[in-house]
């Protein structure tokens, strides 16, 4: 049995050792935002917040999350009350296919929590673990800067 907090709610699961947090989130927990991209910590599609820090859900075993706090995009904001980043990504139309965006939002949220006014280099560094094939990088950078401005306002 593993218990942890997911988007503020307590969760108890009984999964075998070979199940990952990503399997749990997309399977029994029914979430769609954490996405499978590589299973090897190389693309960032599955990124979630683990006690506030970005972590690859594809590489976390259930043991590793026992007693921890997990936040996914579903926990960042809602349609009615979006996180500043979600609103900023819409405002900048920062995406094409959108498959990578959940992970991007997670790392961006962690960045802004640690550094409310990141410059472009800091943003690029924070987003380095994330791959985007559609070429939305510059829009994503602009969206993160916009969110930072709006959170400071």
């Amino acid at each position: 049995m593993t218990s942890f907090t997911l988007n503020g709610a307590d969760v108890i699961l009984d999964l075998p050792d070979h199940a990952t947090l990503l399997h749990a989130l997309r399977g029994p927990l029914g979430l769609s935002s954490p996405r499978f991209g590589c299973g090897a910590e190389q693309c960032g599609s599955c990124m979630v917040l683990l006690d506030g820090k970005p972590a690859y859900a594809c590489a976390l075993g259930m043991d590793a999350v026992a007693g921890r706090k997990i936040v996914t995009v579903e926990g960042l904001g809602s349609d009615g009350a979006p996180h500043s980043l979600q609103a900023a990504f819409v405002a900048e139309q920062a995406g094409q296919c959108g498959y990578c965006l959940s992970g991007m939002l997670i790392s961006a949220a962690a960045l802004l929590a640690a550094n409310p006014d990141p410059d472009e280099d800091a943003i690029r560094t924070a987003m380095e673990p994330h791959l985007c094939r559609c070429g939305s990088h510059n829009r994503i950078i602009r969206a993160i800067r916009r969110a930072a401005r709006e959170m400071a306002a």
Partner: protein
């Protein structure tokens, strides 16, 4: 019947010409359904690939019908109900589908309005439409919704219908936000990957450990949970109730399988030699021939250019869900061509196409013929063993980078000659490549991966090139857009196909545009002329000149600084020589390797439906091009593809991605030209020019790695 290369290829069937794909799908009800509850269903045959096409098509329909965009509901493609628009490819979606929907909507508006006018006794000309309400001189006389579900659209489209004049358009030409983005940013299910059906099982594939390997033995042993093996010849898969058990079982079975390997791949280090050798057994065709009496040349250049195999490398691996109901199978797929996929699944199962229902759902971004079709057939094959339960098959990263079709390695030899003042006189180009299309639905036998691995296998056919009228494949953009009196361009399609090849964004243009532009740069240098000036004086097409002049202004080309280690390059192409125009300037920094720091793009996509969407496509295509230019290369040994992870097949990351400025020259009076592919090849060419400006070397081989530049001339 669909020819499968997009409706932009004109079909002469004697019927009155209708715009775009409406010509082959002529009933209005195939495209539009007006509902009594105030919703208009629009049913394109093109699919969302991440390019934002559904947003653009909704704008076109809403504008032409005069309804609020919120009333438009786009119905994703499902066979056999949706119009057959063949494949969503070639930057043709707005041309094919947008033109059809515009005309169908205009015709629908006319039909509804006529009925309302007749019933109310108001003259047709006196009625206007406001968000679907029909307004006469004395107020509302009716609405679309009043006649919704009434079957008024069960007619053939009239060739006489006229779309609104350009100045009356309100929703086309504005940057409407993407309809799909908010959901995707809130974790809503969006992709076929997110489909969850009751009782759904999970599957994974166990690939042969070499290309063409034959399964010799498979040791028995326990599998986790309820996982079980599904096998048909060399096609091996596992099926389990959970993803974790399916994955763990696939890993275990891989260690128990013994494969008889074969040496089937060329020596990568001698790939260019292999291409030349295979060309002696290939099929050579003259692509274009122009004869002229030309004076004796003063300047001559003979150059060769080479590129490796390229991978699609979508961020999400291919995925499909399939379910049998008796002898009928339904498959949820992110295919680009639902009808073509249906054809090849039916051929593989040896059943009638009507027994196969393909439902399109989005996948991760698609840049050509990737694993989407292959995974769909595999899901179907596995679902045969699932007793009617739905089966979700997800490819691994190694499946995606190692087994999806690749864009073929290519070689082009160019000989160009010019007069003393640099004026081009002659041009001879020989393109060598495997075919750029192995898409399903076009060959007598299925082209899908698993079809050749079954116990009763189908033979693998060498891939083909789309006809030049559809833009060509290997020969795409091999004919320079510049004024050259004497010209001979030929293309040799290889019939040996050690690595399965198919379409990737740009097809042959990725190499041909760079090759042409590199020769232009070098010829300009021979006569001491600026690369921009040299291009402009050989370019008769005013729209081509306009994008070059525009981009030069944006980047300050004439006043560009010379900085140690930096260089600027400029390049131009009209995609397929018939599509969108793009000119690109790249700023390159040469350090221990090459970085592209900035890109400026000027594009002319004809009439622009959604300027921000088009700019997004041009920018994304350019970053894709920069990634191909600098780092991308499929690697292999003699048995297998070895670049099957993001470490071994890197793409540009945030720290390496250039800043991009895009300007569009909107031509609302001109036909749609597409946007998705126009900037990619010119970006590669501009980066090559920048490398020469920074280092004095002209690269001859992609990617522009330190190693390949060291071989440069």
């Amino acid at each position: 019947m669909s020819h499968g290369f997009g409706a932009a290829l004109k079909v002469d069937d004697g019927k009155p010409r209708l715009p775009g794909s409406l010509h082959l799908n002529r009933r209005l009800s195939q495209w539009l359904h007006v509902r009594a509850d105030g919703v208009v269903e629009v049913k394109p045959g093109k699919v969302e690939l991440g390019q934002g096409i559904l947003t653009a098509l909704a704008q076109i329909a809403a504008d032409e019908l005069d309804v609020a965009p919120e009333r438009i509901r786009i119905i994703s493609v499902v066979t056999p109900d949706s119009p057959d628009e063949a494949v969503t490819s070639g930057s043709l979606s707005v041309q094919d589908s947008g033109s059809a929907i515009r005309h169908a909507s205009a015709d629908a508006r006319r039909i509804f309005l006529s009925v309302a006018a007749q019933r109310s006794g108001v003259a047709f000309e006196a009625v206007t439409v406001t968000d679907g309400d029909f307004i006469g001189p004395h107020g509302k006389i009716g609405s679309y919704w009043q006649f919704g579900d009434a079957g008024l659209l069960e007619v053939e489209a009239s060739p006489e219908a006229r779309a609104k004049p350009m100045e009356a358009r309100r929703l086309v030409g504005i940057s409407a936000p993407r309809r799909d983005l908010p959901g995707k940013l809130h974790g809503a299910p969006a992709y076929v990957h997110d489909l969850r059906l009751p009782g759904m099982l999970h599957a994974r594939i166990i690939r042969p450990n070499a290309r063409g390997a034959v399964l010799e033995a498979l040791a028995d042993g326990p599998l986790p949970g309820d996982a079980r093996l599904v096998r048909d010849g060399n096609f091996l898969a596992v099926l389990a109730s959970t993803e974790w058990d399916a994955e763990a079982a696939a890993t275990r079975i891989a260690t128990r399988a013994q494969w008889q390997e074969a040496v089937t791949l060329p020596e990568q280090a001698q790939l260019a030699d292999w291409l030349r050798d295979a060309a002696t057994r290939g099929e050579r065709k003259v692509t274009e021939e122009r004869d002229a009496d030309i004076p004796a040349a003063v300047h001559r250049l003979k150059r060769s250019f080479h590129r490796p195999y390229l991978a699609h490398a979508s961020i999400g691996p291919s995925c499909a869900v399939a379910r049998f109901d008796g002898d009928r199978v339904e498959v949820f797929s992110h295919t680009q061509g639902p009808y073509n996929l249906r054809t090849d699944i039916a051929k593989t199962l040896r059943c009638a196409p009507e027994k196969v229902i393909v439902r399109h759902m989005e996948g991760a971004g698609c840049y050509g013929h990737n694993g989407a079709d292959d995974v769909a057939l595999e899901a179907v094959l596995i679902a045969r063993a699932a007793e009617g339960k739905p089966v979700r098959l997800l490819w691994s990263r190694a499946d995606e980078l190692g087994w999806a079709p690749f864009s073929p390695a290519m070689l082009v030899d160019i000989e160009a000659s010019a007069a003393a003042d640099g004026s081009l006189l002659g041009w001879h180009a020989e393109v060598i490549s495997n075919g750029h299309s192995g898409r399903p639905g076009r060959s007598p036998v299925p082209t899908l991966l698993a079809a050749s691995q079954l116990a009763e296998p189908f033979p693998v056919q060498p891939s083909i090139n789309p006809p030049l009228a559809a833009g060509g494949g290997a020969e795409r953009n091999a004919i320079p857009g510049y004024r050259i009196p004497k010209l001979h361009v030929a293309t040799t399609r290889l019939l040996d196909m050690p690595i399965r090849t198919s379409a990737l964004r740009g097809l042959g243009a990725t190499l041909n545009v760079w090759a042409v532009e590199s020769v232009m740069d070098e010829m300009a240098a021979l006569v001491g002329e600026d690369p921009l000036t040299y291009r402009l004086r050989h370019l008769d097409d005013a729209r081509g000149r306009a994008v070059l002049e525009k981009v030069a202004g944006m980047a300050g080309w004439q006043g560009r600084e010379t900085r140690e280690g930096f260089g600027f390059g400029i390049a131009y192409a009209r995609y397929k020589n018939t599509g969108a125009y793009a000119a690109v300037i790249a700023e390159v920094e040469a350090r221990e390797r090459i970085f592209c720091r900035r890109l400026w793009i000027a594009g002319d996509c004809g009439e622009v439906v959604n300027p921000d969407g088009a700019a997004n496509q041009l920018e994304g295509g350019a970053i894709h091009g920069a990634s191909i230019a600098l780092v991308e290369e499929v690697r292999f040994d003699r048995q297998r593809i070895t670049s099957d992870s993001w470490e071994s097949f890197p793409i540009l990351r945030f720290s390496e991605v250039p800043k991009v400025d895009v300007a569009l020259i909107n031509r609302p009076e001109a036909p749609f030209l597409g946007a998705g592919e126009a900037s990619l090849a010119p970006t590669i060419a501009a980066i090559a020019g920048g490398i020469h400006a920074a280092l004095g070397a002209r690269p001859r081989q992609l990617p522009f790695s330190a190693e390949n530049i060291a071989k440069a001339g």
